[in-house]
Every structure is written in C-alpha cells, then in structure tokens.
C-alpha cells in the first residue's frame, strides 16, 4: 500500500501496437474508478516514470500490473522480469502478451529476413543497416536493446497470474475485470485461481454469434474480396470464408462476424486447448466436401496462407511456434544464456 493507502497499479507496453493501452482508456468513466482505487506508479504511456524508480520499489509492492505486448527484445524481457518481481498480480493483457499476437507471426521468419524487410526496403534511407546492440562512437559505447531471434509470450518468460486476451480486450470486459479486482481488494469478491483466463468466455465465438448455422460441407474456401454476395444471416464459414470463430475463445460478443467479417482469432483458444492453430486446422479440413486429394487440394487453394490463417494471433504460443530460421545453434545459445543487460 502506498502512503495514501491505495493499492498500486502499473501498466507496461512491450512488443505490441499499443492498442491495449488505448483500450484501457476506452472504458470511459470507469477509468475514474481505477484512479479512485489505485495509485498509478508506473505507466509510461500515461505518466513519466523511470525504470530505476520501479527497481527501487520493494518486491511485491505493486498490486496490479497490466503487461501488454510480447517479448521481442532484451528490454521487453528485462521489464517483464522486473515487473514480475515487483507485482503481486501480473496480468498478460491483450493478445500479444497472451499468445504473441500479430508480432508473433514474425516467428515464421528468421531475424535476418525481418531486418531485410525493414532496413532494405525501398522506402528507407538506411540501406544495408542492421541494428547493433552495442556500438562504439567517439563519445563512448552505445547500447540498444538486443533483438531476440523469436518473439515470446509473457508467460514464456515469467510466471503470469492472469491472462486477458483480445486485440484489444473488449472495454466491457476490462471494466468488469477492474470491478472484480476492486471488489476483491475490498474483500467483497474472490479472485479466480492463478493461471485463469479472465475477461473472456469459456466457449468459442460461435456461442455468441447470431448467424444461422447448418451442417457444414465446404466445396471451396474463398477470400472475402472474391465473394459478390455474403448472406448477412448465415454462418460465414458455410459461405466458404475461413472464419476462425469456431476455435476462438468467446468474450468479444462475436464482433467481427456480426459485422460481416470473419473472426481472425484474437481471443486465442478455448479452455483446455493445447494448440489453437492445430484445432482450427483440423476443424477447417474436416468439413471440406471432397474425398479425393485433387478435390481437397482444390478446396485448400482457397487458403493461401494456412499458417497465417490458423495462427494469426497464436503463433508464438503454438507447439512449433515458428519456422526454421537461418540462425544457427550458436546464436540460439547466445540468446538462451542472455541475461537482461540493458539498463536505462
């Protein structure tokens, strides 16, 4: 507890787009409850703070930390470890922290090819440049965070108390969680067991989707831009659109399918599922209407990027997690023994 007796709150933005930060503000006047009930001690987006201030806090002194974004570099990892140490409740907040999210798709590519895409592209004036963790200049040695070979989820780096999926988490779900934590602090409610997924449902998006559904026989998968007409009341998957809803955890209210766009899977897998992409892949394949390899392959041609389709948000949390990269074992070893070395 702080001097004013309020529990402490922190939020940190790692490898992600920052939408989660905005989402917290999207809870509207509920944010006043946060302010009324918590003392915000660390939230780089909202207030000035230094890493050493956090380091100076006693371990376990932050009551609630929302951590959004995945672990892409040594700075992300250092903050993850630091905030873990300082926090009583660490929440992996949003798809990136929970499952890697969109940045996790980079796990299909080797770092060098990522750099090539970023630094060798036509629009940059720094052709051939590669970021270096340590760089000598006349004034001395410069350090920037080291880029890791792959992106990890928060839980792959530190123990996490709760997972709150969504890209970003839905405002009403955030508000509900905030309420719950506040009530728990006042002894009026009990927190779910550690490791739980909060702010989301137990089933999948179809549970909340109002579109009519039938037995599925898919003759061809289509991309949405190729369809002239989409029946507004019928299951999108039945119309050939690869909708990730069947495998994606409920909680969003089936926002995308209701708006006519297939679910892309930001809430991750349903309860108890080991590998989101494999589940979805199996479901898609099972309802293909075809028994010969030719028929099936023709149908599958409608999904030009299967890995991207079934792992759009979950690749960093998948069993295989990413592709074979160009890095050799030595480099990997380096990464493995790496300790968070970056200091502000």
């Amino acid at each position: 507890m702080s001097a004013n007796g309020k529990p402490k709150f922190a939020m940190y933005w790692a490898a992600g787009c920052g939408g989660c930060e905005i989402a917290v503000l999207n809870i509207h006047e509920k944010i006043l409850d946060v302010d009324a009930n918590f003392e915000v001690v660390f939230w780089p987006v909202a207030m000035d703070a230094k890493y050493q201030d956090v380091e100076a806090m006693p371990d376990g002194s932050i009551t609630l930390t929302l951590f959004d974004g995945g672990i892409r570099n040594s700075e992300n990892e250092m903050l993850a470890r630091l905030l873990r140490r300082k926090s009583q409740i660490l929440v992996a907040f949003g798809s990136c922290a929970c499952q890697g999210g969109i940045p996790g798709l980079a796990n299909l590519s080797a770092p060098e090819s990522l750099f090539a895409a970023v630094y060798d592209g036509v629009s940059t004036d720094s052709q051939g440049v590669r970021p270096q963790a340590v760089w000598q200049v006349p004034e001395g040695e410069l350090h920037i965070p080291e880029f890791y070979p792959i992106l990890k989820t928060l839980a792959q780096v530190v123990p996490v108390d709760y997972f709150m999926p969504g890209c970003p988490p839905e405002p009403h779900q955030i508000a509900a969680v905030v309420d719950l934590v506040i009530q728990a602090l006042h002894g009026q409610a009990e927190l779910p067991p550690p490791g739980s997924i909060i702010g989301a449902g137990y089933s999948t998006v179809c549970d909340e989707c109002k579109r009519a559904r039938n037995v599925k026989h898919i003759r061809a998968f289509e991309r949405i831009q190729n369809l002239d007409h989409i029946d507004p009341a019928l299951c999108l998957l039945e119309q050939g659109l690869p909708c990730n809803g069947p495998a994606t955890r409920s909680g969003c209210g089936a926002l995308c399918p209701q708006a006519g766009a297939p679910c892309i899977g930001c809430y991750g897998s349903a309860e108890g599922v080991l590998d989101y992409g494999a589940r979805l892949l199996s479901a898609f394949a099972s309802v293909i209407d075809g028994n010969t390899p030719e028929e099936i392959e023709r149908c599958l041609d409608g999904i030009p990027d299967p890995a991207g389709q079934v792992y759009r948000f979950s690749l960093a949390n998948s069993l295989l997690r990413g592709g074979k990269t160009a890095c050799d074992d030595e480099e990997a070893e380096q990464e493995l023994i790496h300790e968070a070395a970056y200091h502000d």
Binding site: N107, L108, V157, P194, A285, G322, G323, C327
Partner: protein, 156 residues
C-alpha cells in the same frame, strides 16, 4: 553426429488396419528398423493435427500417419477426414520450414504387414538422410520449462 544419427519416428496407426498390419508384420517376423514407435488410435480420423505437432515438438524426427485405404475405413469414411487434415497440415508444415518427407500419410490394410514394414523402412532411411529435426533447437527459441509453463499458462 550425422554418422551415428538414428532418427526417431512416431507412427500413428489405426486399430483396424495398420495396427493389425504391424501385428501381422510381427507374426510373420518381417524386419524393419527399430526407429519407429507406434501409437494406436481407433481410426486415422482420430488423428488430431495437434498430435503430429506434439510429436515433432517433443523431439520426433518424423511422423508416419497410417490408415485404412480409401473406401475401406472401418468407420466407413473417416479416413477421408484424416486425408483432408493431412493435406492442410502438410501445407502448413511447409510454411513452418519442416521438410515434407518428415510427415507422411500411408494407407495400409490389415493384410499389408510387408507393405507397412517397407514404408517404415523407406521413411526411416529418408529421414536418416535428412538428418535430425531437433525441433526445439532448430526453432531457435528453445522451449521454456514445461512445468513452469503448465502452471502459469492457463491455455496449456
């Protein structure tokens, strides 16, 4: 290392055809390399792609999926579902950088003990030539400690 490399394969078999083919290979004393470890399912239709990923992620160098010939499924038509999943899985594994030879689907009836043994022999040799998959290292992030993950990650 590659001189002494002995690949380890996981083979998924159908209770009604390929598992019996393996039994038959045994009864007939047909020899094949000891590099495969078979696992029985009731049907190739039971094959959840997760199992294949799990085997590869747990250190297997290859996975052989077997089932009844098309039209001969003990459960009438479920092997077609296995085929559909396999074809999609194969496309995805290619994106993951896993050589197509490492995951194969083969039809083997209960009478095809010799054929199954030959398929296993061929696949072991193909994978021996490819070298180890070594997935955790190869995917250069290495797996986090499983125990820690299971406790801390609700999605486990």
């Amino acid at each position: 290392m590659s001189d002494s490399f002995e690949p380890i394969l996981i083979g998924f078999t159908c209770n009604w055809c390929s598992y019996r083919a393996a039994d038959l290979a045994g009864t007939a004393r047909v020899k094949y390399p000891p590099n495969i470890r078979l696992l029985r399912l009731m049907c190739s239709g039971r094959l959840d792609p997760t199992f294949v990923l799990k085997a590869l992620a747990s250190g297997a160098d290859g996975v052989l999926i077997t089932g009844c010939h098309p039209g001969e499924c003990h459960y009438l038509e479920q092997n077609y579902k296995a085929l559909r999943r396999y074809l999609l899985l194969r496309r995805m594994l290619a994106q993951m950088g896993i050589e197509p030879e490492r995951v194969k689907l083969v039809w083997a009836s209960a009478a095809e003990g010799v054929k199954l043994a030959q398929e296993i022999t061929d696949m072991v040799e193909e994978i021996r030539a490819l070298g180890p998959l070594n997935w955790p290292q190869r995917h250069n992030g290495a797996a986090p400690h499983a125990d820690e993950k299971a406790v801390k990650e609700g999605t486990a």
